[in-house]
């Protein structure tokens, strides 16, 4: 085939030579920072802290942000309540009970899935009826539910999610953002941070109440 010996080498080298003068695509990372999208806020990765517990706080931010709803999760939030969020059904071929949470490697007691306090679903349904199952009225639905149950039971939130077609992450996020909405059980104090520590800090700095011992 090769009439002239070494022609293959020359051909190969000519390719090398052409490439040599073409514009480079290599980014000298990390010396030269690469361009990132303005919305980029860091890589999502589940990490463990120095005590070996998962750093994920079950805040549902990632599940809520994911455009294709491929993140499902469940677990204890920082207030010790159990919540589950499932992404769209069609993204899963496996049994959901065995999904993300179990795969995270943390032992999860099975009864967790049965621990929702049983509630009167009819009461939730009638509230949903009043609000026309309208997801745009979510805050009103949650306030009415709290008025009926004195707090927001997980079972009620699941029902609202199912009937309004709003993801559980979205509902949990809304319910936990507003201080006047309570996720805790009956009579439990409001879960969200209140103004008290701030006012106490100001009182300490200005010495309100210090006069007594001065």
């Amino acid at each position: 085939m090769n009439l002239i010996p070494g022609i293959g080498l020359v051909r190969g080298m000519s390719l090398t030579l052409r490439r040599f003068f073409q514009p480079k695509v290599t980014i000298r990372y990390p010396e030269v920072p690469s361009d990132v999208a303005v919305k980029f806020r860091g890589r999502l990765q589940l990490l463990y802290d120095e005590n070996g517990s998962l750093k994920c706080e079950t805040c549902f931010q990632c599940a809520q942000a994911c455009p294709i709803e491929c993140i499902d999760m469940g677990g204890m939030d920082t207030k010790g309540r159990f919540h589950v969020h499932w992404g769209a059904a069609e993204t899963y071929g496996e049994r959901r009970e065995e999904s993300a949470l179990r795969r995270s490697g943390r032992p999860v007691p099975d009864p967790a899935y049965e621990r929702f306090t049983p509630i009167d679903i009819a009461a939730v349904d009638s509230i949903l009826e009043d609000f026309d199952h309208d997801p745009a009225q979510l805050l009103g639905i949650l306030e009415a539910t709290q008025a009926a149950f004195d707090y927001l039971p997980v079972g009620a939130l699941m029902r609202i999610s199912e009937r309004t077609g709003t993801g559980y992450a979205q509902i949990y996020g809304t319910a936990s953002f507003y201080d006047h909405l309570r996720l805790g059980a009956l009579g439990a104090p409001a879960s969200a941070p209140s103004a008290a520590p701030y006012l106490a800090a100001l009182a300490a700095a200005t010495g309100a109440g210090r006069q007594a011992d001065a």
């Binding site: 805040c59 979510l138 809304t174 969200a192 941070p193 520590p197 100001l202 300490a204 700095a205």
Partner: protein, 440 residues
Amino acid sequence: MTTIIATPPHWPAILLPRTAAADPTDLDAAVRNHAFEGLRRSLRDGPTATIAVIAAARLRGRGGAGYPAADKWRIVAESASDTRYVVANGYGADPAVFGDRELLERNPYAVIEGAAIAALAVEASEIIIAVRAESTEAIRRLRACIAAAEDAGLLGHNILASGRTLNVVVRPVQGAYLLGEETILLKALENRRGQPEQRPPYPATNGLHGQPTLVQNVQTLATVPWIIVNGPEAFAKTGSKNAPGTILVHLRGPAGEGLAEVPLGTPLRQIIALAGTAADGRPIKALLIGGPSGGLLPAELLDTPYDFDALRAAGAHVGSGSIVVADDRACVVDLARLLTSWCSAQACGKTIPCRIGTRRLAEIGERIVTGTSRPADPGLLADLSADIVASALCDHERLTTLPLTTGMRYFRAELEDHILRSTCPAGVCHPIAVAAGPVN
């Protein structure tokens, strides 16, 4: 009710009338005091002229950032849409400051008229006044005023036979410190989870329900009728050169607290002298200016003028309109760490600087006052603060760095006493116990 501190008679009284009206909701009495005269004039002169007057007055937003009002009005007016909104931000996020609430209770017609003038100028027909749900009296008075003005043909359908419609509603909102932030407030008005949005697009082009929305603090709006009636030249003579006009300041110190209407640009020394907030001859140690995420300024900076730019340059900000005076018995480091952990607990959780950055910051503060700090902590604090400021989504995270960074800038010696010597000069923290404890 909060005490209103009397100010020198030559100071302008634009927001709170010097002699309180017997009944602030009495429309006839208000009209005798020139209420709705500004609305009539701006209806006669048209939107362009009104915006020009506001621009000439150099009115800046009283909600904290001091953004020029006329610029925002122009953007809203020029955004193509059939529906535009005006949102009056009367939430008053800082739970220790009652300026906006007192204004709504004592001078409700000024806010309503200001919002109406703004709505005419940007060609909006829907006005929403967002008020803290706990401020029931303010809500009651606003609703009474709106009803009276509608009956008189000043609001509602076809106002003053001009063919223009102005619908005003009062929306009580509650449940989070962050609701004061404009994009979060708009989410709450849409019944959604409160989380800020990436800007741009700004609410001025994509606000409530995606429509152009003018969000303006209630003090900003209450200033508008005064400007229209008295003219921009008279307004520009009040306050400071770059920020004319007055603002409500909530003063709090060892001698008590109160609210004062202060011309912008007044030196801090004169403001705190109003309330005699410097108690029984004790030296002032620090001023916390701007609310929970305010800056801590030392006594040497008492001559700083109280306005947007000068405070920013010094490391603080107008923020919620709060000035807290601490004397030599207070520990600045302890105050800074308490504020940081409170602000961190308020953060919405949407982004990494907000969810994790502010928490790590609070932990550094915690370590310093408990005597468990590490030698690298001051450097870490500076680095982390810079990263948070650079990567934050909303201003809350950026401002949360202020108590500790200004503490480090102005009270370095006190900070080092905590970190290096495990002592608290003011005797407030007890950092020695842990440091000297047995090692096992």
